[in-house]
C-alpha cells in the first residue's frame, strides 16, 4: 500500500473500530437516526473544515473561520430583521463579503510575506469585531423562508433524516474532493504545500493560488455561517468560538500533514465523524461530562501527530536512495 494512504486508512479504521465499540455498548447507536443527526449537528463544522483542508494542504492556516461564521450569522440576522430583502439575496451578499475577506487575507499573506498565522489572527479579530459592531445581542431569525429551508429533508429507511444542511455538507465534501484531485487549482494547492520555492519553479502561479485558497476558505466559512444560522435560527456575535480549532483538529485527525502537501479532503470528513461520534457517545452515556470530549480529541490529535511524524521519518531514507 502506498505510504500516502496510511494516515487516511488509520483514520477510517479508528472510526470503524470506535463505532463498533459504541454499537457493542449501545446497540441503538447503529441507526440511520443517529447518523442523520451526526450529519446535521456537524454540518457547519464540516463545511468550514473543507476550506481548512485546502488551506492546510497549501501549508498555511486560517484562524479566522470561527469569527467569520459568527459574523455571517449576525449579518444575516440584522439584514433580515431590518430590511425586506429575500434571504437568498442576503446569502449571496454575505458570501461575496466573506470571499472578498478571505481573498484580502490571502493577498496580505502573499504580498507582505507574513506568516498566515498572524494575518488570519488579525482577520479573526476584525471579523469578530465587525460582528460585535453589528449587534452584541443574540438576534432571532423569524423569516418564513428559514422555516421552509429547515423543513426540507430526505427521509432515510429507519426513521433517519438527512436535512438540507446535512446534505449540503456532503455536497460540499464531494465538490471539495473533485476540486482537490481533478482540477488544476487542486494540483497547484498540493504543489504549494510541497514548498513555495519549488512550486514557483514548476510554474505554479503562487500569488493567484494563495489568494484563491484563502478566498475559498472565506467562501466556505461564509457558507458554514449560513448553515449555522439555519441550524440555530439566530445570529450571535459570540457564537462559534473556537470552531477554527475544531476544524484544524478534524483536518489533522483526517490524516492531512500539517506541513502541507499531503492529505485528503475525504479524510477530513472522517475526522468530523470521529469528533461527532465522541460527542454522541457522551450523550448516550449520560454520566460522562462533556469536557471529556475535549480531552479525548486532544489525545487523538496527539496520536495522529505522532503517527505523521513516524511516517515522515520512515519515508525519509527512501527519498535519499531515490
Amino acid at each position: 500500500m502506498k505510504q500516502k494512504y496510511l494516515p487516511l486508512t488509520a483514520t477510517i479504521l479508528i472510526f470503524l473500530l470506535s463505532y463498533a465499540l459504541c454499537v457493542a455498548q449501545y446497540p441503538n447507536m447503529l441507526s440511520t437516526r443517529v447518523i442523520g443527526n451526526l450529519l446535521t449537528d456537524n454540518a457547519f463544522l464540516g463545511i468550514a473544515a473543507v476550506g481548512m483542508t485546502f488551506v492546510i494542504l497549501s501549508g498555511g492556516i486560517d484562524l479566522s473561520v470561527g469569527a467569520v461564521i459568527a459574523f455571517t450569522g449576525v449579518f444575516l440576522a440584522v439584514v433580515l430583521e431590518q430590511t425586506s430583502i429575500h434571504p437568498l439575496a442576503a446569502f449571496a451578499l454575505v458570501l461575496a463579503i466573506t470571499t472578498l475577506f478571505g481573498a484580502l487575507m490571502g493577498a496580505i499573506i502573499h504580498h507582505l510575506e507574513m506568516p498566515a498565522f498572524i494575518v488570519t489572527l488579525a482577520g479573526m479579530f476584525l471579523a469578530r469585531g465587525m460582528a460585535f459592531v453589528l449587534s452584541i445581542d443574540s438576534i432571532p431569525i423569524k423569516h418564513p423562508f428559514y422555516a421552509t429551508l429547515k423543513s426540507l429533508y430526505f427521509k432515510l429507511p429507519g426513521g433517519g433524516r438527512i436535512t438540507l444542511i446535512g446534505g449540503l455538507m456532503l455536497l460540499v465534501f464531494a465538490v471539495g474532493i473533485l476540486v482537490a484531485h481533478r482540477t488544476r487549482f487542486g494540483t497547484n494547492v498540493y504543489a504549494l504545500g510541497g514548498g513555495t520555492a519549488t512550486a514557483k519553479l514548476m510554474g505554479v502561479p503562487v500569488a493567484g493560488t494563495t489568494i484563491r485558497i484563502y478566498a475559498l476558505s472565506g467562501l466556505l466559512a461564509g457558507l458554514s455561517g449560513i448553515v449555522f444560522s439555519l441550524y440555530t435560527s439566530a445570529g450571535y456575535s459570540l457564537a462559534a468560538v473556537g470552531v477554527e480549532l475544531d476544524a484544524i483538529t478534524a483536518v489533522v485527525i483526517g490524516g492531512t500533514l500539517l506541513t502541507g502537501g499531503s492529505g485528503f479532503v475525504a479524510g477530513t470528513l472522517v475526522g468530523i465523524f470521529i469528533q461527532g461520534l465522541i460527542q454522541t457517545y457522551i450523550t448516550f452515556d449520560g454520566t460522562l461530562s462533556s469536557w471529556w470530549t475535549k480531552i479525548l480529541i486532544g489525545l487523538l490529535l496527539f496520536a495522529f501527530i505522532l503517527l505523521q511524524k513516524g511516517i515522515i521519518r520512515l519515508s525519509r531514507p527512501e527519498r535519499q536512495h531515490a
Binding site: A122, F125, G298, L299
Partner: protein
Amino acid sequence: MTSTVRTYLGRLLPQLIALAIIITAISIIFPGFLNLQIQNGRLYGSLIDILNRGAPVVLLAIGMTVVIATKGIDLSVGAVMAICGAVSASLITSGHSLVETLLVTLAVGILCGVWNGILVAVLDIQPIIATLVLMVAGRGIAQLITEGAILTFIDPGLIFIGSGSFLGLPMPVVIWLIFGILVALVVRQTALGMLVEAVGVNREASTLSGVFTPVLLIAAYVLSGLCAAIAGIIAAADIKGADANNAGLWLELDAILAVVVGGTSLLGGRFSIAASVLGAVIIQAINTGILLSGFPPEFNLIIKAAIIVFILVLQSPRFRTAFTYVSMPRAAGKPTEREAK
C-alpha cells in the same frame, strides 16, 4: 554605561512613543486620567489600574517573547492558566497550606511547559500544532479538576496575591515587575539570550556550532508554562475562584499581540522582554481608553486587528526593501547594540 542606556532606549523608543501618545490622548479627553491618590497606603488611579489589569497578559508576554525568539509559539498558555487556577483553587479548598498550593501550582505549570517543550524539541513537531494539543485538551483537564463548577475559596493569603498591595503597588504589578526583571537579568546577563536568538535564527546551524538546542527549547517552553502558572494564580486570586471555562480565554492571542507590538519578529531571532512588557501595557491602555471613552468595548477587537496589520506592514520584507534607506541605519546599528552588552 550611558551607551547601554541609549541603545536600550533606542530599542524601546517606538513603544514608548506609542504609549505616550495613547496616554496623552486619553488624558486630553479625560483630565482626571492621570490622577494618582494614596488610600490606605496604596496607590489608586487609572494608570495603576492599567498596570494591574494588564498583569496576566504582561506575564504571558514575558514567556511568549522567549518562545517566539526561538521561532516557536505557545498557544497553550490560556489553557495552562485555566489548569493552574483550577489546581490552586482545589488545593487551597482541600486544606493545603498556601506555600504548598503555590509550589504545586507552579510545578504543574512547569510540567505543562516540559510537555510542550518535548513535543517541539524532541519529537520535532511544529510549535503551533504541538501547543495546540494542550490548548484543546487543557480546558477539559481544568474542568476535570474543578469538576465543572467554579471553585471559590476564601483563603486570605491566596486572595492577597490578587488584590493585596505591597509598597503602595497592587500585588500583581509587584509580581510581574520582579519576575520580568529577574527573567531579563537571567537572559541578558548570561549568554542564554544570545543562544535563544541563535536557535531562533537558525536551529540547525546553532546545533552544529555546539548549542545544546533541545534543552534550550524545552527551557523556553518551561518559562512560558511558569509564566502561565503565575498568571493563572493571579487571575484566580483576583476573582477568588477558578473558572475553568473563562480563565485566560484568548489571552494567548493577546500575549502574542503584545510580543508583536513589542517589535519581536514572529520569525524568531532578536527579542526584547522590556519591549514586550511595554507592548502588553499598550494593549491594556487601549482597552482602558476605549472603556473610558464610552465606545462599546466591541471596538477593541477592530483596533487590535488594525494594529496587527499596521505592524505587519512595517515588518514585511517587501516594505523594508522598498524603504531601504530607512532600515539601513537600523541594520547598521545592530552590531553596536551587541557590542554594548
